[in-house]
């Protein structure tokens, strides 16, 4: 009898001991795992620091004023810049924005006010899926749509490809921003007798303007770094110089439309395209130039990103504070 109760006591003791042990173990596991997630976070962000510091280091060594103002020199020669690519990047990005922004705003307005109709769901789901389509596929599509019909590569085709890339970004951010504007603003305008289109254009969109501009800038930043969709739409063109096109156009007394047409109908280069081509050439000069191009591109994109995010955050906190 006593033996039995003794063993019972033992087993309780052992069980108690085990709970103590497992409690300690649980506590330690907790500590270790929480610290481990922190380590994983820094591991995930390590490449950012590594890439940025290397691009700044390598690109900074080469960067000079010439790089921005000179056309490329023939292969193997020292010096020269990437003026053509900078001009091309601007042309392509602006063109992409001009093509994408108006329909994207309208589609976002539809999606924001008809979120439960079939088309509204199709717009939101469609933009999500569209933003996941590989950019090289967009390039193939625009090749089939524009380049094949025109018969030649052109800045126009590149602009259309970039427009398709940024379209979903702009739709989604604009939709979110419109939904954040107070309903009362819109109702007030409608109650005063303003038609729907006037209310939307001059009240809702104006109230949401900061956020919409942010979305557009983020979209443009992404577009300016895209390479794949330009490979067989804009193609690349080392002789592209807007100054020359305009001055020869003026000298020949061509109209504005004719000059614009000449700007858009030629193949153009862009910074990421140039970077890609130069990185594969066996000339050290060209490789240094591609690091410098990477630096310029990275500064452009990071500054756009950081500036717009700070701006948006201020705007959001003001909205929430109200």
């Amino acid at each position: 009898m006593t033996q039995f109760s003794q063993s019972r006591l033992d087993s309780i003791d052992i069980a108690f001991y085990h709970t103590r042990l497992s409690y300690n173990r649980r506590k330690i596991t907790n500590q270790i795992m929480l610290i481990f997630t922190g380590i994983l976070t820094s591991l995930a962000l390590l490449p950012l620091v590594w890439i940025i510091s290397y691009v700044v280091y390598k690109g900074g060594q080469y960067l000079s004023l010439d790089f921005f103002t000179q056309m490329p020199k023939p292969l193997g020669m020292e010096g020269g810049g990437v003026l053509h690519a900078i001009e091309g990047t601007i042309i392509l990005t602006v063109l992409g924005g001009v093509i994408a922004i108006p329909p994207a705003l309208l589609a976002a307005i539809y999606a924001a006010y008809h979120s439960n109709t079939i088309l509204g769901i199709a717009v939101r789901f469609g933009t999500d899926v569209l933003s996941g389509v590989p950019s090289i596929i967009v390039g193939l599509f625009v090749y089939a749509l524009v380049v094949k019909n025109q018969g030649h590569y052109s800045a126009l085709a590149g602009g259309i490809a970039l427009a398709i890339i940024i379209f979903p970004t702009i739709v989604r951010t604009t939709e979110e921003m419109i939904k954040l504007t107070p309903r009362t603003l819109r109702e007030g305008s409608l109650a005063l007798g303003a038609p729907e289109w006037k209310t939307t254009l001059s009240v809702t969109l104006v109230a949401a303007a900061n956020g919409i501009v942010t979305g557009i800038l983020l979209g443009l930043a992404r577009a300016s770094g895209e390479t794949a969709p330009l490979l067989f739409t804009a193609l690349g063109n080392e002789n592209y110089e807007i100054g020359k096109i305009i001055s020869s156009g003026v000298a020949n007394r061509q109209g504005l439309l004719a000059i614009l047409n000449r700007i858009f109908e030629q193949p153009v280069d862009s910074l990421p395209l140039t970077l890609w081509k130069y990185a594969q050439q066996p000339y050290p000069e060209r490789i240094s130039q591609s690091w410098a191009a990477a630096l310029v591109l990275m500064i452009l994109i990071l500054v756009l990103n950081i500036a717009t995010r700070i701006w948006l955050q201020r705007r959001m906190s003001r909205l929430q504070g109200r």
Binding site: T37, L43, L48, I51, A104, A122, F125, F141, P272
Partner: protein, 328 residues
């Protein structure tokens, strides 16, 4: 019968401008589905001759496939294999890191740390693919990939089954499927982490409180309560990352070595579907050559489409389950 419309009648007809406005808005909204259909249709139409010429033979899994523009012999398998292998390896490598980062951001990090870390993740996602490629060629390959590749070859190269995936030798330059996988892992980590973080933030706070009240530790709450709760959303994030990896072009093209060889090995150079298109399409002169490339584009498009739709559906499901209780 013809009569002049007075201005008030015109206004009524157009509802003070709202009718044309609504038509315009609906037309713009229709662009989205139309664009998707148009992309699919164009790729389908422009690959007709290649589909007719090669049929299913185009997709047959084979180790010694041929890709010969001169003889018009095309088979897609090496590229499909390269894409799948690099993407899935990237996913496996990225998963623990991005899950850990997401958990840290959503559940652990103090408020003052949350914002800067989230921004850094977004910046990592914003860096253009070509810059990853450039950094990859000159820094990442020689410093990281070649040593890791050689170590893997020594460790696993002669094991019976797995050894096929770790056959060497690793190229001196480091250009290999492993390099592409590692770069892809870096590139998709911010995507997966951001979506997973949002999934965690969408889980109602009552779930955490209940678990902590029962005596669970912080980690047990995360791993045994929140993780299963958000599982379908996390799965969505993972599939989304896989979709990104499949379609990624420039960085992969720059580091994978672009060679077709009959090897399964992760440590040897390879080719992916997108890098093949990027390298060859602009110079493809033969009709069958360019059509075969477009057919590969079609396959890639269908793959990413299915993955993206599945991913979005899964993420939406979590977000919609409890919209009022979400924490954010």
């Amino acid at each position: 019968m013809h009569r002049n419309l007075s201005s008030s009648q015109i206004q009524r007809l157009f509802q003070h401008g709202d009718r044309p406005w609504n038509i315009g808005v609906i037309a713009a909204a229709l662009i989205v589905p139309a664009l998707m259909l148009a992309i699919g249709w164009m790729l389908w139409r422009d690959s007709a001759a290649a589909r007719l010429a090669y049929g299913w033979n185009f997709l047959t899994p084979t180790l010694n496939a041929s890709w010969n523009p001169v003889a018009d012999e095309f088979q897609a398998w090496p590229f499909i294999y390269g894409t799948m292998l690099t993407s899935i390896t990237a996913l496996i490598l990225s998963l623990p890191v991005s899950l850990g980062a997401a958990i840290f951001l959503a559940e652990i990090s103090p408020n003052w740390l949350y914002q800067p870390l989230s921004w850094m993740a977004e910046l990592l996602a914003a860096i253009p693919s070509v810059i990853y490629g450039l950094w990859g060629i000159f820094i990442f390959l020689p410093k990281v990939v070649t040593p890791i590749g050689n170590a893997l070859f020594l460790m696993l190269g002669s094991t019976p089954w797995l050894g096929k995936f770790f056959e060497g030798p690793v190229p001196v330059s480091g250009s290999s499927r492993l390099a592409a996988s590692l770069i892809l892992a870096i590139m998709i980590t911010p995507t997966i982490a951001a979506v997973t973080r949002d999934v965690f933030l969408a889980i109602p706070i009552t779930q955490r409180e209940a678990s902590l009240a029962l005596g669970a530790t912080h980690w047990e709450t995360i791993w045994q309560v929140l993780f299963p709760y958000g599982l379908s959303g996390i799965l969505g994030a993972v599939i989304l990352g896989l979709g990104r990896a499949l379609g990624e072009t420039m960085a992969v093209t720059m580091v994978i070595g672009n060679s077709i060889e009959g090897s399964l090995s992760l440590l040897r150079p390879g080719y992916t579907m997108s890098s093949l298109i990027a390298n060859e399409f602009a110079e493809a002169t033969g009709i069958l050559h360019s059509q075969a490339l477009i057919e590969i584009g079609l396959i890639l498009f269908i793959m990413t489409l299915i993955l993206n739709m599945a991913a979005r559906y899964l993420v939406w499901r979590v977000a919609r389950r409890n919209p009022q209780e979400a924490r954010t």
